[in-house]
């Protein structure tokens, strides 16, 4: 079950170094001075504090009471519904909207961390023209049709818009009206991570831009072909929730689904799979083709009526001998599951792979059970006007007079081959709208601050088509405008507020009669009822599919392959200035504040490099230097690059100089993988800050895991890790009331890290920067430990959220000389900041290493706006005190007070910790042991529950449920044999 895995570095880098920049003498000097000044400071009079009540009390606002509003955040073109907590008019916490189909109450890291972006002091604050400040009125009059027509032509020949692909009904209608006004206007929809393969394939296969939506609850066997559907993308919160439902049998008799993942770079989905199979991105088509061939042709040579062309194409895939040995086994398993299976193809893959995915799903009869096809919600690009390449072509030809870039940063994200920056010089006038005056903003003549979504009215569509409303929580801090407002200015129909634009759009949609009621309902719920797209029946065009796949076999090219992926923390770079996300360790590599070139151990040996060695990558006349990171589980001869780092020359100074910009190496604007990169080591070394550098379990029962088959044979395999070991220590007395406890299901946990950000936002956890992480001083109360087991080249991965275990016999409590950490009668291990003198004995004695020490006053230099993001219910900790997870005690006490005011007892589920609330797969459950029917009691009683480091007798209140996998016995034998 647990096996040894070769560990790497056991101790953090620089652990032995003294703090820099200060000598011992200087330290003693300052110590004396601070003592003396502290003594003087105590003599001063108490400050007089003022109370400023309202002049006229606004309705619904009671100072000190939180309000919740429904809104949505759009990312990658699609919206996710949110509930935002507001205190005294400032948003302080973002959670998921349980009514929203893409959220179901969970929120991802980007949604939660977008709060910090709202308050970012480096946001763009003024509208400017050239170097001079300007104002909105001048902009409106300058670009209203009356004035603009003279410059771009009557029909808008020289007018070009660049914006992200969007599904917003409001933007769709505004763009439509813009085209009515300027028939020749060009609208370019571009985002560096907006891949077109899925759309192209659907148009070929069905003659319409359809898109598959999966119901993974119905699937017994799932094959993910380089698709991170559980960890990223616009519907991943929903998929993770649905997937987890089939992954945690409550008893040994229960069943589980089986997930195969084939991918070049380990992802959250891949590491959650029962079989993660490594393959180069270029080989995925051949692999899926072979699977399709075996599923469709079978032993009999295919069903009757199979077009000859299709049979020929499939036969070629079948006869391809380079395919790995596990291919037939996956095909057999899929075929056995029949219509209760699903093939999920990654958005970034080329159309041919998507076509093969459609083929397998159609052949297995999955349509209607695990898959429904809906219309693609994104605005359809017009032929010839889409993408960045056509825009750059027009710019170089001097055909672009006015270029309006709405919330896009092409100067940073464009591939170097396009040379966007030089082309920009040939444009008559440039306008950029952005949250920051970024690389593109700096190069534009006009720059307008964009309103953050928490400051604006807007609308959006979720991945399944459900329309959602964006509602502001706060007035624009810096007078920002929305994309819709800027488009409205070009229509010249007066100066619209963002509210009026959205309201008019939906009133028009509903018709006059019932508009106000429906509007109020939509604003309150955050979604517009009954707007999800209904499933359509796809009508496959077999000959077109066969023609698109044939005639020749698309063979993966040799040599090193580059794979470009969105960074799991900073996305495409737009969150690079977000300190929470920079400090959030990459769920796979545990790397913070940096990016690196991921290589497999075998490839690293061949290249003779180790983690931290700098590599020079050369491709297509471009080159860059980036540190290597040896990552087990990478496909051999593949180099994984994370996009979104290496920002520079903009206002975002936090992001500047962090990591390396990988965009220039891309061959085209949305290329995902490309073969033929040349690599050589420069000999230099770069220090990478990782929060975890040792990942073997060393044979200890820390993250228990087993197979479903073994669990059925020995349901009590975890028994020895439960119960009270012999002990002389009696522990502190407990009260008769609620007894708080938590369970974490490792079978459901995907390691996505939403809980880490939730905890950071809820509990005012500071960031420490790269230096701090290098010295292992990160402050996260909840971290996710990632362990490798099995094969050192291609290990199994277990993610284990680790937080204060709230031990009933807590080792930290009896070593504290000042009683700063004590036990509450309701079973919490309390931390009393005001008593703490910073001996750190508790941290030393904590076997789980979950206590964090404030080495500096991390909150001292926060900007005024950043302080607004703090949760007023939680103390801001000072320098020199210890802190750790409190089980969100502020939420417990608030719920207790609310129940007390109503004169009733708390009921189960009333207190939800921040991590539990955010978890998309509901792996974390919190509650009181005194409620007999509580979910937490039920889960604790499951046979696979255990406590970490049970033999120490700490009796933690956090119990884990061992991770179960459901491997295919045939492949398992193969693996064991090899």
């Amino acid at each position: 079950m647990t096996d040894d895995w070769p560990g790497f570095e056991e101790f953090p880098a620089e652990a032995e170094l003294p703090p820099d920049g200060m000598s011992r003498r200087r330290f003693v000097q300052l110590l004396g001075a601070s003592l003396a000044l502290a003594g003087l400071g105590a003599c001063m009079e108490r400050p007089r504090e003022r109370i400023l009540p309202y002049v006229t009390s606004p309705p619904d606002v009671e100072p000190g009471t939180a309000e919740w509003y429904a809104t949505s955040m759009t990312l990658g073109g699609y919206g996710i519904g949110l509930l935002v907590k507001s205190r005294e008019g400032r948003p302080i916490k973002i959670e998921g909207n349980p009514d929203h189909p893409a959220s179901l109450g969970a929120a991802g890291i980007y949604q939660q961390a977008s709060l910090l972006q709202l308050y970012d002091p480096q946001r763009s604050k003024r509208l400017r023209q050239d170097r001079k400040p300007s104002d909105w009125q001048s902009f409106v009059s300058q670009f209203a049709p009356a004035s603009l027509r003279g410059r771009v032509g009557q029909r808008g020949e020289g007018l070009h818009f660049l914006l992200e692909p969007t599904a917003s009904p409001l933007l769709a209608s505004l763009l439509g009206r813009l085209r009515d006004l300027y028939p020749n206007v060009s609208v370019h929809l571009y985002a560096p991570l907006a891949y077109s393969g899925q759309r192209t394939a659907a148009v070929t296969a069905f003659g319409a831009a359809l898109m598959p939506l999966y119901d993974v609850r119905q699937a017994d066997v799932i094959l993910a072909v380089d698709s991170d559907f559980l960890g990223s993308g616009p519907f991943h919160l929903r998929y993770a929730r649905d997937f987890a439902e089939r992954r945690r049998p409550s008893s040994p008799d229960g069943s589980m689904s089986r997930l195969y993942a084939i991918e070049p770079v380990p992802s959250v989905t891949g590491t959650s799979a029962d079989h993660r199979l490594r393959a180069r991105a270029g080989d995925l088509e051949g692999i899926l083709g072979a699977i399709a061939a075996q599923v469709i042709l079978g032993p009999s040579g295919g069903p009757e009526g199979l077009p000859d062309a299709m049979a020929a194409v499939l036969d070629r895939y079948r006869r391809d001998e380079r395919n790995p040995g596990w291919v037939p086994e996956i095909a057999r398993d899929l075929a056995a599951a029949g219509h209760r299976s699903a093939v999920v193809v990654g958005e970034s893959l080329p159309p041919r792979v998507h076509l093969l995915g459609h083929l397998v799903n159609l052949a297995l009869g999955n349509i209607g059970t695990t898959i429904r096809y809906v219309k693609r919600p994104l605005i359809e690009p017009e032929t010839g006007h889409d993408g960045l390449a056509t825009l750059v072509e027009a710019m170089q030809a001097g055909a672009v007079h006015t270029l309006v870039m709405l919330d896009a940063n092409p100067a940073y994200t464009a591939p170097a081959g396009l040379d966007f920056r030089r082309a920009l010089g040939r444009v008559g006038e440039t306008v950029s709208l952005g949250l920051f005056e970024d690389e593109t903003g700096r190069l534009s003549q006009w720059h307008l601050p964009l309103a953050h979504y928490l400051e604006s009215w807007d609308d959006c569509r979720a991945y399944d088509g459900t329309a959602g409303l964006v509602q502001p929580l706060i007035a624009p801090l810096y007078g920002g405008k929305t994309v819709a407002q800027v488009l409205g200015a070009f229509l010249g129909e007066g100066d619209w507020s963002s509210h009026d634009l959205v309201r008019a759009q939906w009133s028009g949609h509903w018709g006059k009669a019932d508009a106000p009621e429906r509007w109020n309902e939509a604003v309150q719920r955050g979604i517009v009822s009954d707007t999800a797209f209904s499933p359509l029946t796809p009508l496959p065009r077999w000959n077109d599919i066969a023609a698109a796949l044939g005639p020749r076999l698309n063979q993966g090219a040799g040599g090193m392959e580059l794979v470009f992926q969105a960074d799991p923390c900073v996305y495409d770079g737009r969150f690079a200035n977000n300190a929470w996300l920079q400090e959030l360790p990459d769920p796979m590599t545990k790397l913070a504040w940096d990016n690196a070139a991921l290589v497999s151990p075998a490839t690293a040996r061949r290249l003779r490099v180790e983690t931290g060695d700098e590599l020079r990558l050369r491709q297509g006349g471009q080159q860059l230097t980036i540190a290597a990171l040896v990552h087990p589980g990478m496909a051999d001869e593949v180099l994984g690059l994370r996009l979104g780092y290496g920002r520079g020359s903009g206002d975002e100074s936090l992001a500047e100089g962090v990591g390396v910009n990988a965009y220039p190496l891309r061959m085209s604007e949305t290329s995902y993988s490309s073969p033929g990169v040349t690599i050589d080591a420069t000999g230099a070394h770069h220090q990478l800050a990782r929060t975890q550098t040792h990942w073997g379990l060393e044979g200890r029962p820390i993250a228990l895991h087993t197979t479903l088959a073994h669990y059925r044979e020995q349901p009590n395999f975890a028994r020895e890790e439960r119960g009270s070991p012999l002990s002389l220590y009696r522990g502190p007395p407990l009260g008769s009331g609620d007894q708080w406890a938590m369970t974490i299901d490792l079978s459901a946990c995907t390691g996505c890290s939403a809980c880490v950000v939730a905890c950071q936002a809820e509990n005012n956890i500071p960031v420490v920067g790269k230096e701090g992480v290098l010295r292992s001083r990160e402050m996260h109360w909840l971290r996710i430990d990632r362990y490798f087991t099995g094969d050192a080249e291609d290990p199994q991965v277990i993610s284990q959220p680790m937080l204060c275990q709230h031990c009933e016999k807590a080792p930290c409590e009896y070593v504290c000389p000042v009683e700063a950490t004590v036990h509450s009668p309701d079973g919490l291990n309390e931390m009393v900041y005001n008593r703490c003198v910073g001996t750190r004995f508790c941290s030393n004695n904590c076997p789980y290493k979950v206590r964090r020490f404030n080495w500096f006053d991390y909150n001292a230099e926060l900007a005024e706006t950043e302080r607004m993001a703090k949760n007023p219910e939680v103390t801001i900790r000072a320098r020199g005190v210890m802190e750790k997870c409190t089980f969100c005690v502020q939420r417990i006490r608030q719920a207790q007070i609310a129940a007390g005011l109503e004169g009733r007892e708390l009921h189960d589920g009333e207190v939800r910790t921040a991590c539990q609330q955010a978890c998309p797969s509901q792996a974390i459950v919190f509650g009181s042991l005194t409620h007999p029917n509580a979910e937490v009691v039920r889960r604790r009683a499951e046979p696979r529950s255990y406590t970490v480091l049970h033999e120490l007798g700490t009796e933690p209140r956090v119990r884990y449920l061992a991770r179960l996998t459901n491997p295919n016995p045939a492949l398992q034998r193969e693996r064991d044999g090899g």
Partner: protein, 216 residues
């Protein structure tokens, strides 16, 4: 050789040592007493306010209930400070033009809030909730004193942690029926001891002395 020090220096050194020992114990002890004295805790402190509002006049004279102005005391953590608008229903009728009322009129005209000086100040790491206290039978008077006798409001209690804990360890004697919450000069009936227990039971009063009850 004659002694280097006179004999009297023995006494002197003993005296110095003695004083040192007394000081080592006494100075910290005195400091600990001192921080609990009214000058440090701010007890009886009655700062000058931007409006010469007399609680004595409004509470005792006109018998206006505390909750007319501090309206959220039964619902939220904060008792609520009245907006400038709160004065108007009455002061439209009386004392509309007096100089004492001028700051309120100015606030209403300019839209600027009245900068009241905080009298009862708890440190930022204390999370006090008014609503739960009054719903459990703690009257306004229990902590804020005889506000009906204060022309200028002052801090009635020391507001030290020890003072909080006195009640948290033994709440029963300080309880009153919730209906008497805002009564000033509340006199418990003669069978107080019996009533105490009854109230504590009725309101489910707990002896909350765990740290996170107030510090989070």
């Amino acid at each position: 050789m004659p002694a280097l020090f006179p004999r009297s220096s023995n006494t002197l050194i003993r005296a110095v040592l003695g004083v040192g020992v007394i000081a080592a114990v006494g100075v910290p002890a005195l400091l600990m007493v001192w921080v609990r004295t009214p000058p440090v805790t701010g007890q009886h402190d009655a700062p000058r306010q931007p409006v010469e509002f007399s609680h004595q006049l409004h509470v005792k004279g006109f018998r206006i209930d505390c909750r007319y102005c501090h309206s959220t005391v039964e619902r939220t953590a904060s008792a609520g400070m009245p907006s400038s608008q709160t004065c108007i229903p009455c002061h439209n009728q009386v004392w509309r033009t007096g100089p004492l009322f001028a700051p309120v009129r100015r606030s209403l005209a300019s839209g600027q809030p009245i900068p009241w000086v905080r009298v009862n100040r708890l440190p930022d790491f204390v999370f006090f909730n008014h609503a739960i206290h009054v719903s459990k039978g703690v009257g306004c008077e229990t902590c804020h004193g005889r506000v009906d006798q204060m022309a200028r409001v002052q801090q009635a209690a020391p507001l030290t942690m020890g003072w909080c804990l006195d009640c948290h360890r033994n709440p029963e004697p300080r309880l009153r029926p919730v209906s008497q919450m805002t009564t000033m000069g509340y006199r418990p009936p003669s069978l107080q001891a019996q009533l105490d227990e009854q109230l504590a039971r009725t309101y489910h009063v707990q002896r909350l002395v765990t740290c996170t009850a107030c510090h989070r």
